[in-house]
Amino acid sequence: MSDIPRATGLTRVLRASRGRSYPRIIGLFRERSWLFYDTVLPLLGTIAFVYVYKALGAPDRFVGYVIMGGAAMGFWMNVMWSMAAQFYWDKQGGNLELYLVSPCGLVPILLGMSVGGFANTLMRTVAIVVVGAVLFHVTYVIHQLPVFVAVFAVGIIALYGLGITFASLFLLWGREAWHMANLLMEPVFLGTGFYFPVRALGFWVAIGTSIIPLTLALDALRQLLFPETHPALLPVRIELAILGGLAVLFAFTARLSLRKMEFLARREGRLSLRF
């Protein structure tokens, strides 16, 4: 058997991320039922809100808001259940110990989880947007495409940074991971304005809920898709700048919480033994 040279540095980070993203991406094709559960079932919830607006005789643009919210919801659910809670499952399955002792460290593994989860969720998002267009005749005209792409990208980076922070916190909170993820579903759906323009909550409340990156990302994307009619919380470029700040903030807190989690895990044996 010959020695195989191992990569270090950035090459290893990229390889490790690719390795960890693989189960998520291949799972999409291998477990078709996931596609059904992750796409069709949540779509039903979104459609329900569409009919609520239609029954109330709301303007058509509200259908567009709901479809956008439904599309974004997939990312939030992915961040909660497949990022924040993932280390908890990995601890139960014995993977976390192997991740910790591997030389690449946890960051590339979390990046891989993020990339895999993002790719997985993107399909659901596309499905919801397409269904919105076909069934409810929502037309999407993207104004300022580069800004749209930037808001989407920076929003996703901030969101997954938040997910990585939660991954450490959920692990430290141990058995409450399941409950924590549940706790952060409906209130976030409300607070971020998944189904309505977040401005409706009042300016300061909406500013408060903007700590969740989806709030500003959704508001900015809706402004760019429905520029004439959407009641903006803040101008798009300011929202983009704040999202950039949140991305940096959550990258920092993610790194800090990972270090803290690993230190406590080593000091107190939380990942190894349960008394």
Partner: protein, 337 residues
């Protein structure tokens, strides 16, 4: 480069237990209690002890999953508390009964995924995966989903995972736990083969199977209640067992065997009457003394039904040191838990 692969000095690891209604302030469990070990490079070293003896905790400190409470530990010359990255670059770990990985992946995919965490190039990693799968007899199952593997197959796959990065130091924590006889034999055979092929590589193996330690290890430390009670080669430990080798003699019923103890050279006898026969355990000054025992029995018209010489095992050493059999120690831990 340090000549020692692993070195611990007075290593202690305690845990605080959770608070409960019975114990509102929590408590402290001493899992590792002052272990001092020196394991040179190239050695296959065994930590032998019952469940709950502290073997797994010791390994977790060495692989950087736990911090020592006090004392120190170095792996490949690096401090486990401060130089974790350097250690992680050089080690790998496989635990018995491990259910790591993702069931929807195939065996080959799963192993490839783990190889990426070590930065192995894909093509070379896949080549090594196939090579190792052939060696452990799992090549035909390479496209089978992990969720469909038996526990024996899964453990072989885990062993391949541990060997993939070709670590300087491999930690095997109960690698044959829960395996059937055939699978356990295959795993042991491959561990031996790996060490033979890779001189200079070190294995620290924990087990509570005596025969596994005897079969595999260059040296063994018997660990009990978190402390190392003796360290030596299996042969030297056997030699240390009280009386060295002994004889088991089965005769027609003796109705008392104390007179056998008066045969010159007989150091100790234990006799047990059974159904029409007596089994006598004899510890002798030397093997030649058995002739006098046989003659004494013949003089009293006692028929010898069987006679065999028994070399002491690590089990005997364990009994001598700990005061009970390994299985009994396991059961005691189980009752305590």
């Amino acid at each position: 480069m340090s000549t020692l692969a692993i070195e611990t000095r007075d290593l202690v690891r305690t845990y605080r237990t959770r608070k409960s209604a019975q114990n509102p302030s929590g408590g402290t469990v001493v899992a590792v209690d002052g272990i001092t070990l020196q394991i040179p490079r190239g050695e296959l070293f065994g930590l032998l002890g019952p469940n709950g003896a502290g073997k797994t905790t010791a390994i977790k400190v060495l692989v950087t999953l736990l911090l020592p409470t006090s004392g120190s530990a170095r792996v490949a010359g690096f401090d486990v508390a401060r130089e974790t990255q350097q250690i992680r670059e050089r080690i790998s770990m496989v635990s018995g009964g491990e259910s790591s990985g993702y069931g929807l992946l195939t065996v080959r995919e799963q192993l490839w995924m783990f190889s990426q965490f070590y930065g192995l190039p894909s093509r070379a990693a896949l080549g090594r995966i196939d090579e190792l799968l052939k060696v452990v007899g799992l090549f035909e199952e390479r496209h089978r989903r992990v969720s469909a593997l038996s526990s024996g197959m899964r453990q072989k796959m885990n062993l391949v995972r541990g060997l993939l990065p070709d670590p300087e130091i491999l930690f095997l924590d109960e690698p044959t736990l829960g395996l059937d006889v055939g699978a356990a034999r295959d795993v042991r055979a491959y561990i031996r083969e790996w060490v033979r092929q890779r001189p200079g590589r070190t294995i620290l193996l924990t087990t509570h199977y005596m025969h596994e330690a005897e079969e595999l290890c260059d040296r063994v430390a018997i660990i009990h209640k978190g402390a190392v009670v003796v360290t030596d080669t299996p042969a030297a430990l056997r030699h240390r067992a009280a009386g060295g080798s002994y004889f088991i003699l089965t005769t027609s019923l003796l109705d008392g065997a104390t007179w056998l103890g008066q045969v010159p050279g007989v150091q100790r006898i234990d006799a047990r009457d059974g159904d029409g026969s007596t089994e006598v355990r004899l510890e002798l000054a030397d093997d030649g003394v058995i002739a006098g025992v046989v003659k004494a029995l013949a003089d009293r018209d006692r028929r010898i039904l069987s006679l065999r010489k028994v070399e002491p095992s690590l089990e005997d050493v364990f009994v001598q040191i700990v005061g009970r059999r390994l299985e009994e120690a396991d059961e005691a831990v189980g009752r305590r838990e």
